[in-house]
């Protein structure tokens, strides 16, 4: 008997709620997940950092990489001429040191059509004026801080240039390019229609061509002469760091 009463209440409730349906509210708040895949390339080849993969560096020279990583800030999708912005990631660290793809997963992105993606390459000023003690251990900004520059290291690019192309370690010059400070924050905006649909995880591939970061004005960067960017008081170091960051903005693409 009790079950009969409860069943009747259930049926009545179903009818009552159904009569209040409003199909127009269905799309509101509908989200899906989105994977941002950062791919490390050297021209059209995989970068293969932290390996003995050599790439051509002009003439007989060849280059290999040991570290490549960078911060991304204020990652967002945009539409309607950038007036409508959907924020994805406030700050994160892309680590391509020993892999060719680093994927950042965003859990709940509103479905719809977007015109492109944009982000800052580096750490925005408000955060860059902070230091590791302001964050929890494990947070992207709890590490990679350069006290001498009073800045986070926005990007690291390290490796070895083989001057004669024979694969002998004694012919190599190591390079360590560390870029940072507020002056080197760069904005990346990539235009491409991106459609996110209900029930289907989104997937966006971004490509970073490291060769492009080291090649400008029809020539490769002179690593042998300028192989470090450590000293903010050294104009060569500053010039190198600035050039590489400027070239990196042209080296990032979307497909």
């Amino acid at each position: 008997m009790k079950n009969l009463i409860f069943s009747a209440i259930c049926l009545f409730s179903m009818l009552a709620f159904t009569s209040c349906d409003d199909d127009d509210n269905l799309q509101e708040g509908v989200t899906t997940s989105l994977a941002l895949n950062f791919n490390a390339k050297y021209n059209s080849s995989d970068l293969n950092s932290a390996s003995l993969t050599y790439h051509n560096y002009g003439g007989d020279k060849q280059i290999r990489f040991q570290r490549f990583d960078f911060y991304i800030s204020n990652v967002s999708l945009y539409r309607n001429g950038e007036t409508d912005v959907t924020e994805l990631i406030e700050i994160d660290y892309v680590n391509l040191d020993d892999k060719n793809v680093d994927t950042k997963n965003v859990a709940s992105v509103p479905i719809g059509s977007y015109d492109g993606i944009q982000f800052e390459l580096g750490v925005v000023e408000d955060y860059n004026n902070m230091s590791p003690g302001d964050f929890s251990s494990g947070h992207p900004l709890s590490t990679n801080y350069w006290a001498g520059w009073q800045s986070y290291i926005f990007c690291r690019l390290e490796g070895n240039l083989d001057l004669v192309g024979m694969g002998n370690l004694e012919d190599e010059v190591g390079f360590t390019y560390h870029m940072g400070t507020n002056d080197l924050l760069r904005t990346i905006q990539l235009s491409k229609p991106i459609t996110l649909t209900e029930g289907q995880a989104g997937d966006v591939d971004l490509f970073v061509d490291v060769r492009r970061a080291l090649f400008d004005n029809d020539e490769f960067w002179d690593i042998e002469s300028f192989n470090q960017t450590h000293d903010p008081s050294d104009s060569d170091h500053v010039l190198t760091a600035t050039n590489i960051m400027d070239n990196l903005t042209k080296a990032i693409s979307i497909e």
Binding site: D98, S142, T143
Partner: protein, 373 residues
């Protein structure tokens, strides 16, 4: 259908079923029968543990399933110093991690209960709770809870079994009380290796710098300054002001003086990546390029943790500085920050003076970290 309909319907259906059969009985076989000692008469009133970490440190991330409590840290401290963990009750965690040596043992490699030598040097546990990129020299485990399980059953180290250890802990009135106070267990049967590891992890997380090293005082207190040689060493360490760069901070970045990465710092002279006598990180990742790479250790209290490197090959800091001054042995994966530094004797002495500003005797003498027995 309205978005509230389904949940409401589900609630109603559950209500109907809950009243459906008043004659339902419980299956006694499904209830775990505990035969140990009832502990419910012992109060369980957890109090959060205050790490009292320096303000310049990041906030330590504590796992949600192992919050730090005063009782938990105390239990962990007892376990850490208790040889009950070893098969013959002669050694404890503290046998290789002594507070007087900043929780190392000042040996090149450690000896286990059978007198068998390990292959690597005991690592300092100072600030180990801030680690986020793997533990041990080769990064083979990620959490302190995982790490604490291994030495007990390691044939070279404590050479015991967890059932043996747990049995002894369950029989101990002291540990029954402390486990109850730490974790609120109702019966001694609930003492497990997992809870034991959690307690050890809580103690290890409590091992935090006092903030009273000279380096911390100079950085954080306007009234404090480096001595002249310390200042030169500081500038060299952090590549400041055009002084001869020693490149140290690239791996030993503040505030923990480790970037927690795995690098080859050129101590081994090998013809190729497959010839390292200890492949270190490469054994964990399976990548040949990681062979010969080891975790960057902290330099805090480095003055007290000789000998140095993963196998303790350098007896003094002077030897370490000479090694880095040389640029190390070349290898395909030699860290690119390694290069000949051409330091003068004055500069080497200055670097050594700076390293000694990282000494924190207050940490090593903290009563909360000492042997309670």
């Amino acid at each position: 259908m309205n978005k509230f309909a389904l949940p409401f319907l589900a609630i109603l259906i559950l209500m109907a079923n809950s009243c459906a059969d008043d004659d339902q009985t419980f299956d006694d076989d499904a209830v775990e029968i505990l035969t140990g000692v009832d502990l419910t008469d012992i109060p369980y009133d957890p109090v959060a543990y205050d790490l009292n970490a320096p303000d310049s440190f990041p906030e330590m991330e504590i796992p949600a399933d192992n919050p730090m409590t005063v009782a938990g840290q105390d239990l962990g401290r007892h376990l850490f110093y208790d040889p009950i963990l070893s098969a013959d009750s002669t050694m404890s965690c503290s046998s290789c991690h002594l507070p007087s040596a900043s929780f190392t043992d000042n040996e090149a490699v450690s000896l286990g209960i059978d007198g068998v030598a390990g292959t690597r040097s005991s690592m300092s546990l100072l600030n180990i709770g801030y680690n986020f990129n793997g533990l041990f020299w080769d990064g083979r485990v990620l959490t302190l809870e995982e790490q604490a399980l291994l030495p007990v059953e390691d044939a070279i180290e404590l050479h015991n079994t967890w059932p043996n250890v747990v049995g002894k802990l369950q029989e101990s009135e002291m540990y029954r009380t402390k486990f109850r106070q730490a974790f609120g267990i109702a019966n001694s049967d609930e003492i497990t290796k997992e809870l034991t590891a959690k307690a050890l992890a809580q103690f290890e997380r409590s091992l935090v710098s006092s903030g009273n090293s000279r380096f911390d005082q100079v950085i954080n207190l306007p009234s404090e300054d480096f001595e002249e040689d310390e200042l030169m060493g500081y500038q060299m360490f952090f590549d400041l002001n055009g002084v001869n760069d020693a490149e140290c901070f690239h791996c030993h970045e503040a505030p923990f003086f480790t970037n927690q990465l795995y690098i080859n710092n050129g101590i081994e002279n090998v013809p190729d990546l497959n010839s390292f006598p200890d492949i270190g990180y490469g054994a964990v990742t399976g990548l040949p390029f990681d062979n010969g790479r080891f975790r960057v250790p902290t330099l805090r209290n480095i003055e007290f943790t000789a000998p140095y490197m993963h196998d303790g090959r350098f007896q003094t800091l002077e030897e370490v500085i000479e090694h880095y001054n040389s640029g190390g042995h070349n290898a395909a994966n030699l860290d690119t920050n390694m290069r000949e530094l051409n330091m003068t004797e004055e500069q080497k002495a200055a670097l050594l003076a700076f390293l000694k500003t990282l000494s924190d005797p207050d940490f090593m003498e903290n009563p909360a970290y000492q042997n309670p027995f």
